[in-house]
């Protein structure tokens, strides 16, 4: 005996002693009934009679428990509950619907136990029922929502397959178009050179126009090269294996290719927190090359460029950041267009608007994502989240 059991009961309100088992049975806040093993009702409480709208005389010894259910419930009882009661002596939390005398229905949850006589023969089934009107509505809402979610999922999967197909078609188209355009543009450039060497122009403006023509040709070629890369890089990466890339030498190499004559203090590298990244080497090459060349290209003419490349861990995910003190972009206005193909924000600087599009595609392909901070006149920071 525990200490608590030894303590005397606190003084009770005398009215509580009025609680008697008969009244508790009849007016319990749940339905009670007892039946013979075949389901014939032998005893039923007032609560359940009130639910059903029958009198006791109409039910006892006249109807079976199963006959109080809708037909679906009755079938279920015969096939599932009746065998279970004999095999395991009880069933629990079975969801049925009672049919009232007036034809209306009442959802209930049923527990039942089988009592056996001294010879172990089935004697009596005791049944308890709870009114679950509101719960049933909620459950049906859940069932509907589940069905709906399943339908939506199928629809999304279908749309996804369609989009993937369209994307592949578009890539194919871009690749073919850029390939087919390249040859005639090269021919035009060759013809122009040929033309310059044999033709004489009297107009003093002619030289300037030829220069502009040349420049336009170069720009078209750059765009075409960019387009080819946009399609080809991600394709190559589908096959490329990821490897641990040592960030410091890797980035230094890219910087050397960007500024053959070293300018002091432009780049500051800090990979102490995450010295290596697991990624396809060519993808990281393209990503860093584009971000760093952009940082140089869009430097603010009024101050020397300062570019910081660093790594850190955020919730166990490595983040590679490229921060510059360049011209900056109005991020509030342009956020949605930042990574669009051919979208440019500094028309005064030469470029074709492919770099960031490619960077975004490659990061997404590597399973990562990009966040951008920027302020006009202050600079821009790209944060690349690259889950390993």
């Amino acid at each position: 005996m525990s200490e608590a059991d030894e303590k005397p009961l606190p003084e009770l309100d005398l009215r509580l002693t009025e609680e008697n088992p008969d009244d508790l049975y009849e007016h319990a806040p749940c339905g009670y009934c007892s039946c013979l093993p075949d389901g014939t009702l032998v005893k039923i409480n007032q609560t359940m009679l009130d639910w059903l709208g029958y009198t006791r005389q109409e039910l006892v010894a006249r109807l079976c428990l199963q006959q109080l259910f809708t037909i679906g419930g009755r079938l279920h009882y015969e096939m599932h509950c009746a065998p279970l009661l004999i095999l395991q002596g009880q069933v629990r939390e079975i969801s049925y619907t009672l049919r009232r005398k007036d034809g209306s229905t009442l959802p209930v949850l049923m527990n039942a136990v089988l009592r056996r006589d001294t010879d172990d023969k089935p004697l009596l089934i005791r049944v308890t029922m709870f009114d679950i009107t509101d719960r049933r509505k909620y459950e049906q809402e859940l069932l509907r929502a589940k069905d709906e979610a399943e339908k939506q999922r199928e629809l999304l999967q279908h749309q996804n397959e369609q989009l993937t197909r369209i994307n592949a078609d578009l890539d194919g188209f871009v690749y073919t178009a850029s390939h087919d355009l390249k040859q005639p543009i090269h021919n035009m450039a060759g013809l122009l050179n040929e033309f310059k060497s044999i033709a004489t122009f009297h107009d003093p403006e002619a030289d300037k126009m030829i220069g502009m023509f040349d420049q336009a040709l170069q720009q078209i070629l750059q765009t075409i090269e960019g387009l080819t890369e946009v399609v080809q890089r991600p394709r190559e990466l589908e096959q490329a294996a990821t490897e641990a890339v040592d960030l410091l030498p890797f980035t230094e190499e890219i910087i050397r290719s960007l500024q053959p004559r070293e300018v002091k203090d432009v780049f500051k590298l800090d990979f102490a927190a995450v010295p290596t990244l697991r990624i396809a080497r060519t993808a990281l090459q393209s990503i860093l090359y584009n971000l760093l060349s952009n940082a140089l290209k869009y430097a603010d003419p009024s101050r020397p460029p300062r570019i910081r490349v660093s790594t850190r861990l955020e919730n166990d995910v490595p983040v590679l950041s490229v921060q510059d003190n360049g011209r900056g972009i109005n991020i509030e206005r342009h956020r949605s267009q930042l990574f669009q193909l051919f979208r440019r924000f500094h028309p005064e600087v030469e470029g074709v608007g492919i770099g960031l599009y490619l960077v975004n595609r490659l990061v997404a392909q590597a399973g990562g994502q990009i966040e951008v901070e920027s302020e006009v006149g202050k600079g821009t920071t790209f944060h690349l989240y690259l889950p390993q």
């Binding site: 093993p37 075949d38 389901g39 014939t40 079976c64 199963q66 809708t70 037909i71 679906g72 419930g73 009755r74 079938l75 279920h76 015969e78 096939m79 599932h80 009746a82 065998p83 279970l84 004999i86 095999l87 395991q88 079975i94 969801s95 049925y96 619907t97 089935p122 049933r136 459950e139 859940l142 069932l143």
Partner: protein, 271 residues
Amino acid sequence: MDVLKRNNVSVSGAGSQTMVFVHGFGCNQRMWRLVAPAFEARYRVVLLDLVGAGQSDLTAYDPARYSSLAAHAEDILEVLRTLNLSDAVFVGHSVSAMIGVLAVIKDPTRFSRLILVAPSPRYLNDEGYNGGFEAADIEELLETMDNNYLGWSAAVTPMIMGHADRPALTEELNNSFCNTDPTIARHFARVTFLSDNRADLPLVRTPTLILQCAHDALAPVAVGGFLHQQIPNSQLVMLDTSGHCPHLSAPEATIKAIEAFLEPISSVSSL
């Protein structure tokens, strides 16, 4: 494929004759535990679970294959072939009574007797035929099943997919004897209750016993009469019990009726 494993076949008893017991919808071979042991002294007793039920290989349940009862009948013949059995006594409850009818028509040499417990060749009413149910009733049954699977449907699905990474839940569900995977149960219910095997009945040549319950919501007395009239060499025995499972509600009467029906073969084999 291991057919015996697939259908969770268990063999017990001793005798030159074999009895094969097959359970009905919503349960498994344990349903026979008040009846089958009574025959173990004189018969070899084969129990099995239909694919999709009990401890059968749930991954073998391909809904396309099991979209008709013929696939289950083929499974039973496979079990009999594997055990090298012929002239067996087939005892089938409910839907498995019809599965037995299909099996016996396909390969009569495997069976000497057919015992149909609470059978029905068609549950739905039809012109000139009273099966007891309308299509809406069957939809209501499926709805009741759905209501009862709510909550643990997601928990059971991993079992059918073959990764039991939530052992606690699986165990809890297995504690209930007649558990079935909800997706399979739903499919099997549809196949069972929408099947129509009336045309097969006259093709049965094997001596057949029909055990009809006096008060059975699923297989009314008139349906037992129809079966008796359609199966050429059949006897109809009425069991004075309620419900759909006389082998559970009236096991002694069920055993007695089966013994009386088998009497001639038993005495022949004892000569």
